[in-house]
């Protein structure tokens, strides 16, 4: 955030695409800037209608500014301003100069502080992005503002932001079309990333000299998005490696019974898993620059009973022993059963019966091996009691499913969003979107993790498999909604 410099010169600024986001107070100007600048501190910081100074949000690539968004205060006295302009203009040709004269004359007048703040960058050469609320009916009271902006003679684009649920966009479009070169609809809170790019591309249409720079900026933004998706994948992969292979240990005397240690070790293991999962969540949010995000998410919970296929487990992780067995998924003799963990019992469809018998064998085989404390050999008068890793194949898919749900929501979330991010468990068969070969490869990697036989050299391969899972999850999400 930089306060506008009063010494801005029109010529120097004209070469750099700059866009002043202006409008009536509380119509979503700051939300638009927050989303396009990917800065969640903008929307949160202000009380509606209290933006008093202009703030610049430059888009820089290696410290070279490609374009600049300027968040401005809302109009406070548009009718008086327009009256002043009309009273000082002789003909249409002197209108831009008259606006500049107004700014010069009133730069020290506290009554016109906001008007000067919003007009100064425009007078200095910035393009105009005029924001209105498309959820309220068109009202002629905005015409004074639109007239003032027209008087500046600068390239202008009107943005119909949808704040409420009602839609009067068509009326607005008709009215705004008379005043602005381009009219676009844009939901600052919900518009997907592709729409952000479309909007920025529209900015480039305002003046031919800006187009090339804007196109370059768009390429960088696109690459940045891909880079972030990949970084998020790395975070998910590292969390999976840590969580699936995690062990809790305790020292035992030579003749001490290990069984009483089970609850304590189990509790520590669970607490560690939660902490690690939370760390992964924060890392992903940081990658997407969501630093003020409030999140609601159920804790990763291990079923209480030692039998992970109990009724309680079924309720908790949403899959019964029979379903788990039947949904063998064809992923191999011992591992296939777990793949349907994330389907929560809704997946006995395509491909679920393939390999069911093998999967069944695997799941029952596993059920006897889960949740036990292993005791190591005697060394120095002590033995080591080890809890974990949890070899249940569905655990891996629960962790992965939760991580993908969180990633998807964070990666799609705009920085103007102020609502709490509610992360639910994955409740659909997104794995169906993956090809059989990819499912099997993923399953193998996850199994190796759970057996602590994961070679660090395979991390890159795991990331590639997760990339496919990520794409499958995103595709599944799009198909669902």
């Amino acid at each position: 955030m930089q306060t506008m410099d009063a010494n801005d010169t029109g010529k120097a600024a004209d070469s750099l695409p700059r866009f002043a986001v202006v409008g009536h107070p509380n119509k979503g100007k700051s939300s638009v800037v927050a989303t396009l600048a990917q800065n969640d501190s903008i929307a949160i910081a202000m009380e509606p209608g209290t933006t008093r100074d202009s703030h610049r949000y430059p888009m820089k690539v290696d410290d070279v500014t490609l374009y600049e968004l300027i968040d401005t205060p809302g109009f406070q006295r548009p009718r008086k301003l327009l009256a002043w302009l009309q009273g000082h203009s002789l003909s249409a040709s002197d209108r831009p100069d008259t606006v500049a004269a107004f700014v010069n004359q009133h730069s020290d007048d506290p009554r016109y502080h906001d008007e000067c703040e919003l007009l100064r960058p425009i007078v200095a050469g910035a393009g105009i992005i005029y924001v209105v609320d498309g959820s309220v009916p068109y009202n002629r009271e905005h015409e004074a503002e639109m007239n003032i902006l027209r008087w500046t003679g600068r390239p202008s684009l009107a943005l119909i932001n949808q704040i409420g649920s009602d839609d009067y966009s068509a009326d607005w479009e008709a009215a705004l079309g008379q005043y602005f070169q381009i009219v676009r609809r844009f939901d600052a809170v919900r518009a997907p990333f592709e729409k952000h790019l479309d909007l920025l591309r529209s900015f480039g249409e305002l003046a031919p000299k800006w187009r090339e720079t804007l196109d370059a900026a768009l390429e960088y933004l696109q690459a940045l998005k891909f880079g972030r998706d990949h970084q998020a994948l790395e975070q998910i992969a590292d969390a999976l490696i840590d969580m699936l292979g995690h062990q809790e240990t305790a020292r035992l005397g030579e003749h001490q019974d290990a069984r009483p240690l089970l609850p304590q070790l189990r509790q520590r293991w669970q607490a560690w898993q939660r902490e690690r999962e939370q760390r992964q969540r924060r890392a992903v949010e940081d990658i997407y620059l969501h630093r003020r995000l409030q999140r609601e998410e159920s804790d990763l919970t291990l079923p209480d009973e030692s039998d992970l296929f109990s009724e309680r487990t079924r309720q908790l992780w949403g899959i019964s022993k029979g379903q788990l067995a039947a949904a063998g998924f064809g992923a191999g003799a011992v591992g296939g059963a777990g793949l349907d963990a994330v389907t929560f019992g809704h997946s006995l469809g395509t491909g679920a019966l393939v390999g069911g018998l093998l999967g069944a064998a695997g799941s029952y085989f596993y059920s006897d091996k889960l949740n036990k404390v292993k005791v190591g050999p005697l060394s120095g008068g002590f033995r080591e009691a080890v809890y974990g890793p949890l070899k249940d194949p569905q655990f891996a898919y629960v962790v992965l499913g939760r991580a993908l749900v969180h990633w998807y929501q964070v990666s799609q979330r705009n920085h103007a969003g102020r609502d709490v991010l509610v992360v639910t468990d994955s409740d659909g068969h997104w794995l169906d979107v993956l090809s059989r070969g990819d499912r099997n490869a993923l399953q193998k990697s996850l199994q190796a993790l759970a057996r602590r036989r994961f070679d660090p050299s395979k991390r890159q391969r795991l990331i590639e498999q997760l990339e496919l899972a990520q794409q499958a999850f995103a595709q599944w999400q799009l198909e669902q909604f």
């Binding site: 990917q38 509606p48 548009p78 009271e141 991390r459």
Partner: protein
């Protein structure tokens, strides 16, 4: 310990420190470093990066090795000491010669072969990454950056011990050759002829037969050296001849115990270095670092905006004064009979309009008309929209034109139907607006509940 190991540990430390930083900071920092290196024509490498970070953080490297390598270093010293002691003891034990019978070369060669085999097995085990002795170290941390190097490090320690064993054994042999009259012979239960045995030793002596021909036993020496323990009366015609085996024994030890250990130790050292480099390249922080080096730093956020909490405001709503003069700011609630019924007393209130799309002249006319009525005025506004400067100007103009002491009740609505504003944030916003006007006759009010909603002509007041 090699530099590659220290670098790996250093990198891992930096990676852990960086995990507490946000990605944006890391990208900016590392991209800047990459650009500086390119500008100065310097190589873009992990050591240079680490060095730059150390310099920036004013971190001075300890003169000694990393503490995590100390354990391995100590183990190496212990193995070296043990090897030296055991090697000398082994050789002295082997060369015990009391004149009763010759020192059996067959046994000596078997033990040399065993040493050679052990050395090769140690290396093979390390190359395969097999760790049968893993349990000796107890539980290993999951995130130990040296985890993948344990077999190679262990092999290097074992070979160090083996090399010291071979060296001290060789020295003990030389000492024994000098201070004692050693007599070597060969004996075996197998029906082996002297020719066959000679062929065996000649084969073993291949590596040095051109280098030191005297160290290659002759057929005559082999024939003269065979002995049988039962044949205690078998006199040795030339005892000095049996001592001439020592160059062969020396070269046998040198070639099949010492040199293999030396070569394998060097290979183990190279393996450690190679694996340390590979571990660095596979480190979870390595690929992201390269990404940060190569990818332009894209900044859209600007600087962080510090949260600005609005000033505290205690909302104090005043009772609605009795009035039949309403001014609808920007037409707020003008078309709602409920609004008019809730705010005015008596039928047929005067409804005026100002602000919004009214002209400034229309505002002035509304002010004039309201002032003439000489009663409190109710100013209705949309509570969900922030109060603007035009509203403030309007109130100031009213104060200048109206009789002194005229009450002005400002009523922000929650909707066009006249509901009272209940949102605390919005109420506070209007409270602050009223306080900013510094007008004791300006009241913040809420519409009163009204049972009889009389419809009113919206254009009545125009």
């Amino acid at each position: 310990m090699s530099r590659a190991l220290t670098r790996l540990l250093d990198f891992d430390d930096q990676y852990r420190r960086d995990q507490k930083q946000d990605q944006a900071f890391l990208h900016r920092r590392d991209r800047r470093f990459a650009q500086q290196q390119q500008e100065q024509g310097k190589p873009l490498s992990v050591p240079a990066w680490l060095q730059a970070l150390h310099a920036l953080n004013d971190q001075r490297r300890d003169s000694g090795p990393d503490v995590r390598l100390r354990r391995w270093r100590q183990a190496r010293w212990v193995f070296a000491g043990l090897g030296a002691v055991l090697g000398a003891a082994f050789m002295l034990g082997l060369l015990v010669y009391d004149g009763g019978r010759q020192i059996n070369l067959t046994l000596l060669m078997a033990l040399v072969a065993l040493q050679c085999l052990l050395a090769v097995l140690t290396s093979v085990q390390a190359w395969l990454g097999w760790q049968p002795w893993r349990g000796l170290f107890g539980a290993q941390a999951d995130d130990d950056p040296l985890a993948s190097l344990r077999p190679a490090l262990s092999a290097r320690i074992a070979h160090t011990g083996g090399l010291l064993f071979a060296i001290s054994g060789l020295l003990a042999l030389l000492v024994m050759v000098v201070v004692q009259d050693l007599a070597f012979g060969w004996s075996t239960t197998l029906q082996t002829s002297a020719e066959g045995y000679h062929a065996l030793v000649s084969l073993l002596a291949q590596p040095w037969q051109t280098l030191w021909p005297e160290a290659v036993p002759s057929q005559a020496l082999v024939s003269a050296s065979q002995f049988y323990r039962l044949n205690s009366e078998g006199a040795v015609s030339d005892p000095a001849l049996l001592g001439t085996w020592w160059p062969f024994v020396l070269m046998l030890w040198l070639s099949y115990v010492l040199l293999p250990r030396l070569v394998l130790l060097v290979l183990a050292g190279l393996q450690v270095r190679w694996q340390a480099r590979r571990a660095l390249a596979r480190h979870p922080g390595y690929a992201p670092l390269l990404y940060r080096f190569e990818t332009p730093w894209v900044e859209t956020r600007g600087e962080e905006e510090a949260p600005r909490a609005p000033a505290e405001a205690t909302v104090a709503l005043s009772p609605l004064p009795a009035s039949s003069t309403l001014i609808h700011w920007a037409g707020a609630g003008m078309r709602s009979g409920a609004v008019v019924g809730a705010l005015s007393r008596g039928p047929g209130p005067r409804q005026l309009r100002a602000g919004g799309n009214s002209t400034l002249e229309q505002d002035a006319e509304a002010l004039r008309e309201a002032g003439q009525r000489r009663e409190p005025v109710i100013l209705v506004a949309r509570g969900w929209e922030p109060p603007t400067g035009e509203l403030s100007d309007f109130i100031m103009d009213a104060r200048e034109q109206w009789p002194a002491g005229t009450l002005l009740a400002l009523v922000p609505l929650a909707d066009e139907e006249g509901a009272a504003l209940t949102d605390r944030g919005l109420q506070a916003q209007w409270q602050r607006f009223v306080e900013r006007q510094q007008d004791s006759h300006l009241l913040l009010c809420a519409p009163e509940a009204q049972s009889d909603n009389t419809p009113v002509d919206a254009d009545h007041g125009r």
